[in-house]
């Protein structure tokens, strides 16, 4: 379960992605003071709550044009307080307002900050042009804008609103942790649901390498086959990883060793096990392999047992199972993990290739870097008494 929490943006450290519950505009009224002038849905923020926190909604002047988030009384309010100075137009020489998004108090709200700011900038512009905020009779227009923004951002994360001469473009961009560095020996796997996106929607480099991403080819090979420079391929794939389009897997070899983890999820969720049966079928027209067979296959993966040994013992192809897809599915859903091999130099002064045996560089990576066959490296390590091999 833990690994799920890590990769998904759904549940980061106990908080969760929450929808926008309410959008409101608060202003400093010339006679009535701080008040909410327009709210969608109506009365989401009650008078009591607003009175308790209005110091943070219409703050002192030094905090204007700062993104200010206040989380108290079970609501989280993201705002961007603004003041427009105009001695002729406004009764108090300035018009103070704040456009706020409201979320649940436990929800993450960083992703809304740029949106709140951008929408505020639009409102400032519209206020200067047509007094949309300060004139009472424009409240219905504002109400409509807020309703559309709330609905579209929650449903599609994008909103485009045409209002008079202005067009408002808003988009929620999710904050995600930086993707890991992509290395030559890694294998990118395109996630199934994005296969259908038309090719021309991608940028040029991605268009060129996309056909070679199949869950089998590693980065160096993709670069060679697509005739694109390796560094370019790497940054392109890193970008795809960031957006969750591609997942990086270890290279598949029959000499690899895999280990199970959380295998019970496979049988506990019939949805997952059915997806697995479809995915791993060698010939989709024949009868799909049974969950039992698949489970047995995964269960036999453990330290010290190579994929080849398992294939020889269980003959997956006789049961309409494609062992390569099986491994990919297992890695993708984290039922199994690859046990990597790390040579470590334990002598005093390393020379030549020994410098690479630090325990940080895996066997696959060494092969890829040196361009030597695993056999050669293997023999090399075997002969060298100063090198210990660690599997983890």
């Amino acid at each position: 379960m833990h690994s799920h929490a890590k990769d998904g943006s759904i549940n980061v450290g106990g908080s969760h992605e929450g929808k926008i519950r309410c959008i409101f505009l608060s202003e400093f009224h010339a006679t009535a003071g701080c008040k909410i002038s327009c709210q969608v849905p109506d009365n989401y923020i009650s008078k009591e709550v607003f009175d308790a926190i209005n110091v943070y909604i219409i703050p002192k002047q030094h905090l204007q044009r700062c993104i200010l988030t206040v989380n108290a009384m079970d609501v989280k309010i993201v705002g961007y307080p603004v003041g427009i100075q105009d001695q002729q137009k406004y009764a108090r020489n300035a018009f103070l307002f704040n456009l706020c998004f409201v979320c649940d108090s436990r929800a993450r709200s960083v992703q809304y900050e740029p949106v709140v700011k951008k929408l505020s900038e639009y409102l400032i512009m519209m206020e200067e042009e047509s007094s949309i905020l300060s004139r009472e009779d424009n409240k219905v227009r504002l109400q409509n804008i807020f309703e559309t923004v709330l609905r579209d951002l929650n449903e599609r994360k994008v909103a485009t609103i045409v209002e008079g001469d202005n067009t408002i473009y808003l988009k929620i961009v999710m904050h995600k942790p930086d993707p890991p560095a992509v290395k030559d020996h890694m294998v990118p796997l395109l996630l199934a649901n994005l296969r259908d996106t038309p090719l021309e929607n991608w940028d040029l480099t991605t268009q060129q390498i996309l056909p070679y991403i199949n869950g089998i080819n590693h980065v160096a090979r993709i670069a060679a086959e697509a005739d694109v420079e390796t560094d370019l391929v790497k940054s392109c794939i890193q970008n795809l990883v960031y957006y969750g389009v591609v997942q990086l897997l270890p290279i598949l070899k029959y000499g690899n060793v895999y280990m199970t983890q959380n295998l019970k999820h496979l049988i506990q969720s019939s949805e997952l096990s059915n997806a697995c049966r479809k995915y791993v079928a060698l010939n989709p027209d024949k009868m799909l392999p049974s969950v039992q067979r698949i489970f047995q296959f995964y269960a036999s993966m453990t330290h010290g047992v190579t994929l080849r040994a398992i294939c020889q013992r269980l003959c997956p192809q006789n049961h309409n199972i494609d062992e390569r897809k099986m491994v990919i599915f297992g890695l993708q859903h984290k039922f199994i993990r690859c046990i990597h091999k790390y040579p470590v130099f334990t002598g005093s002064v390393p020379s030549g290739r020994q410098k690479m045996y630090t325990g940080l560089i895996s066997f696959d990576e060494i092969c890829c870097k040196t361009g030597l066959s695993p056999c050669t490296i293997e023999r090399d390590i075997e002969k060298d008494t100063n090198v210990t091999v660690i599997w983890k």
Partner: protein, 614 residues
Amino acid sequence: MDSNVNPLAVILVYFDSKGDRLLYRYPYQTLGQEVATEEQRKYRKRNPFAVVQTDDLLQTTATATNSTSSGQLQGFADEVLSALFAVKPQLCNQKFELKLNDVRFVSHPTLIPHKEQRPSNASKQQMLINIVFALHAQASYSIVKCYHELSKRLGLALKFEEQRSGYLTEQTGQMARTHDEQSQEQKPLEQTFELIAERCSLAQALKSIFHDLCTTGLLSTSLNHNLTLCFCLPAKAHQLHKKGSMVDPETIARCLRALKPYHGMLLLVDFAELLDCVPPTGARMLWQLVDAYNPLISLQSMASNADLSIEHVYKLVSHLVYWAKATIIYPLCETNVYVIAPDAPLHTKSHLVEKFSARFAGMSLFEVISDFSLPTSIGHLTTPLQQPARQGILAQMVLWMLQHHLLMQLHTYVQFMPNDDDDEFADSASCTAQRHSDADELDDQIEDNLHGGSVFSVSSQPLPVPSIGLTIGQRRTISENHSSLASASDNIVVQASSSHKSNFSMTASLSTDNCDSLDSMEDEQKLKELLLVFTDADRAAIRRIPASLNVDDLSLLVKLYQMGYFKSEHHLEEIMYFENLRRSQLLQLLDKFRDVLIIYETEDPAIASMYNNK
């Protein structure tokens, strides 16, 4: 990620009928921007990998904040902060969180009634005290929660001390006076704060709290030389044993919820250090437990040796684990199977290498740990011919490696799954007629015939070729020593895989032949009753196993099945513990029914959750 845990500052704001005031803050340099901008440049979540920047929203915020920081917002003035944190009474005694650009403030504003000087004074004056922690905006929810908890506890402690001796009134008065006299002399603010720290014990306490939070994450501060406040920031404290790992309280809670009487405890620190985490008054029970401490025995035995109830032991152990003083293990024994942890920081530059050879003279960490590249038990690494001392040293080394999270224990799990080609999800009805679980090839041939395939194509199917899908440069042929390793591990691991044959089933079938005819009538009846718990398909599969004719074997199987032990949720040790079985008994049973059971090795998810924090 690491620096997100540390606080940027701690602020003390006081508010009463005379107005609000920022009485103390630490560190003294102007808060906020200077620290934050430097950090923000490093940690700002920007995506430098985007090939086309269709949406530059993030970029524009970055430049905007930077420009304001060089302009008017050169840090938040103390007056602004004190106005912000002198919250309205409605917001008191609950969590308060405020985020300003890249700084997140968290606190628990506490209303404290003044200690009544004269009992006649009926109107009870209240003061508001707000101890605010400034954090990085990126700090995760659980870190924020911990700081809130700390602020809350400080507030409570101050409330108590105020009621006891008017401590807060005295301290805040002192601070306010120092501010007044220093501002008259036009002294810089930093000097004022330094003077306050010299004069007021509360300021000293806050300062030491800030330092402790930045260094160890463990703090034990006494307020007014009377009340001891203990607090642990798990995200920080657990890094002491493993750099860069983020253990949030939720993970620890999940691990502790899974605590069972058969688990054991492994201390991570010396006995002397244990006392840090408990106030001296609460130490008696801990000593009782520590006297009985032994990583070789279960919590249950520890409880009975220490004459404590198991619930008390759970509480104490949970406390120690939370405070990063102990970790949960399965009690060390010869049969435990260990393997190198996937995230073990094993490299030539690691400080653990030297630490290990200092602890165990003349031993190399890599040489010792490479034995655990394959799942291995202490029993297998020692032979009876060796001196017993060697085994003792090995056990010490294993404990050391467990303390440093270098090793992880593997357990064996059991899943009931008749090896039967038609299952509940089958979408093709054509094969339901055939059940030949013991003759797989036959089964497949029939299946192929049903689907119009040829028998010969199946039997002549070549073995998988190892070189599929690899480039010319990367073609990996598997060396012979891999497969020899593989077979070696099959021998090492007692209960390896389902193909592992032994001769137990032979003896079982012989014993059933010897039964009396009268007994067998009764037995037959009993067997039928026992089998009723299974579904039709499962029953048929079990019937084909010779051991199913033995009442004892079958009743044990049925019992374990009904208890839900064959659902991949319980490892062998757990079954043994709760059902009072010996390992050999259980292994024999599993072996007899291996056709309907799938046995595999994996880590205990409860304990592993404390590991995979890469």
